[in-house]
Symmetry: none
Subunit: 263 residues, 2 copies
């Protein structure tokens, strides 16, 4: 799917933004870049620096003179825009764009273009009217002008999410191989052990429970403990019990002997 | 909601990235920036140029030496990370992060930190283990390293969408009044206390850590402890320490005296 999404930059002034766009695209798995009448030399040291290893996308970008040439083969053309101006136009959010991509790209020859305007003045009304829809990235109304590469980053990110969702939600938070969770029975053994230990150390008085065990249960269950974690906790309880129950006159020998009173 | 989300940059090397971060933040309505031990002068002409009118965010950023100082008052700390390494940690997607923000920020004292590491090496394992969860921006596996400001842009965008969604839903079902969650600082005090106690009882040998503290951190952070719960746990630790450190020949007097050897 991502190989049929084209990023189109119109009249870009700063090579760094072209490099930043290439990096954002490659990061998100996009590769098809078109530069329409750039107002700068697209490949400079700034480009290379901001592309940070993705400058092959600039090298292979098509350079054309008009928007029409850049999107001729596209079945959906979406222009990044602040707000529709003179003539209201279908306006979608980046998220809606993402959700529509699988359908839009289901045909063999389907191709989507995402069109970005000039750093200073965006897309002209004529260019906006060449688009099927406009996409507006929601911004702070007091500071709404996104950096060009940042705007590409956001839309490319939505494209990638749409692609991953189509591939059955893989990627993103890939399901970590999970350790086995403690069973109900193991948890109950732990809670019984915990209660015994708390009584042994004198922290808990079953005659005056004050919801202590209920609170510790809730805390522990919130964590969804793994079996291994519960084993550690039981180990701590066992060690605590041994330390507290040790016969008079016998001190544990492994730590903190400085606190032992002189004989 | 957006005013209680902090962006934390650790060890940033390029002033331009700090400027780009400020612009991305202001574009999305975020304002709280913390710079932890930056490896460059944060305010240069590059900063101003990339900030493009948002440099007030850099001017008002707090500058601190450690992650702890930057997130001490935060109730949820999320680290931007490629993949969990040695020890798997709760991993969420940017979208899941956004969907969780309204609940996470429902408490009066709640505060969320989004933590970003160094341009070259990201977050250290120690830093990652200070986080409740890690957020992974899904990227092209062959080119996964996002520009720092671009990563901030994507997460800030998700924050803004979450905030907009919440405004749309306002007037709906009221969220449960939540108990105050433990802050990062309170959690760190607890972990330090826990480690001392485990050493005292001879369960933990810092010379042979075997990831014990990391595992206990992960378990505890999964539970998202409330302040009151942490107070209970610290009470248990204090009681345990007193019991183990009590002078020879003195037994606790409040419970289970039948086990006391006859005088």
């Amino acid at each position: 799917m991502l190989d049929r999404i084209r990023i189109v930059l119109i009249g870009t002034s700063h090579p760094g933004n072209i490099g930043g766009t290439a990096r954002a695209m490659h990061n998100m798995g996009l590769a098809d870049l078109a530069l329409v009448a750039p107002r700068c030399e697209p490949l400079t040291s700034d480009t290379i620096s901001r592309a940070s290893g993705a400058d092959h996308i600039v090298h292979s970008a098509r350079r054309v003179e008009t928007l029409e040439q850049a999107v001729a083969d596209c079945t959906l053309v979406v222009g990044a825009s602040a707000r529709s101006r003179t003539l209201p136009w279908p306006m979608i959010t980046p998220r809606t764009l993402g959700s529509r991509l699988p359908d839009e790209l289901s045909g063999v020859e389907s191709r989507v273009a995402l069109v970005f305007g000039r750093e200073d003045s965006g897309l002209s009304n004529t260019e906006l009217q060449r688009c099927h829809a406009h996409v507006h990235i929601p911004t702070n109304p007091d500071f709404s002008s996104l950096n060009l590469a940042a705007a590409v980053q956001v839309l490319a990110y939505e494209c990638r999410l749409a692609s991953l969702a189509q591939h059955e939600e893989e990627g993103g938070a890939e399901a970590e191989p999970q350790q086995p969770l403690a069973s109900h029975e193991e948890l109950e053994h732990y809670f019984a052990h915990l209660e015994r230990t708390l009584i042994t150390i004198g922290f808990h008085d079953p005659a005056l429970p004050r919801q202590l065990m209920a609170r510790l249960r809730r805390f522990t269950l919130k964590a969804r403990p793994e079996r291994m974690e519960l084993n550690i906790l039981r180990g701590i309880l066992t060690t605590t019990e041994k330390q507290v129950a040790r016969p008079q006159g016998e001190q544990r020998q492994d730590a903190d002997d400085s606190n032992t009173p002189a004989p």
